[in-house]
């Protein structure tokens, strides 16, 4: 294949996880659209199922792509840096969720779990949209390798 002078290669070298700007912007726009769609749906409806399923489908493609790249021997370098601050945050978060769940029983108002906090906030469409965007961002962070 002819490559013109100054033309950028179409794929990053192995291990380079940077995303070209145009696909990144398209991806962000699609994620924002899906998050907005999720925010306007009502649980237990076909609309909610479909909006969430779109996110599933996109991330499933990422997972399959990541697994194929790994089978092909492409693995990004292992991340470095201390993990303990994050493990401490996750540990405290998990503990607090457990304590709130066990002590609260049916009194979620006095003992709010994360789900209860979400239920309160999600009555606002904008807040639900932010939660959906965070959910998609977590998927992107987890499955794009």
């Amino acid at each position: 294949m002819t490559r013109w002078v100054g033309e950028r290669p179409r794929q990053n070298p192995p291990g380079d996880r940077r995303v070209p700007r145009a696909p990144l912007l398209v991806g962000l726009a699609l994620a924002a659209a899906d998050a907005g769609w999720v925010a306007t749906t009502t649980p237990f409806t076909a609309g909610a199922d479909t909006a969430v399923a779109v996110g599933f489908a996109v991330m499933a493609v990422l997972v399959v792509r990541t697994l194929r790249r790994r089978r092909g021997g492409v693995r990004p370098p292992a991340p470095t840096g201390a993990l303990w601050p994050w493990l401490a945050v996750i540990g405290v978060l998990s503990g607090l969720e457990l304590v709130a769940y066990l002590l609260g029983g049916s009194d979620r108002h006095a003992w709010p779990t994360l789900s209860a906090l979400y239920d309160g906030a999600s009555t606002h469409e904008w807040a639900k949209g932010v939660f959906a965007a965070v959910w998609l961002a977590i998927g992107w962070g987890l499955f794009r390798r």
Binding site: A51, P79, A82, W111, K128, W135
Partner: protein, 65 residues
């Protein structure tokens, strides 16, 4: 009373998570960034698949059901 204490704890956890990310950037990688934590967690194929199922459940639980 317990509600206010718990809400304070949840807020403190959110602040701590943000502080971790800021510290990771500010220290030039001495602390792992959140995306690095995710990469570490999903380096094994099976864990990646399990994480995918867990992530799907999260979306289903919060947004669809």
């Amino acid at each position: 009373m317990s509600r206010h204490i718990l809400l304070g704890c949840w807020a403190a956890i959110a602040v701590a998570a943000c502080a971790c990310e800021v510290a990771a950037v500010a220290t030039g990688g001495r602390i792992r960034r959140l995306v690095g934590l995710m990469a570490t967690l999903t380096r094994r194929d099976r864990v990646l698949v399990v994480a995918f199922v867990g992530w799907m459940w999260l979306g289903w639980h919060f947004f669809a059901r």
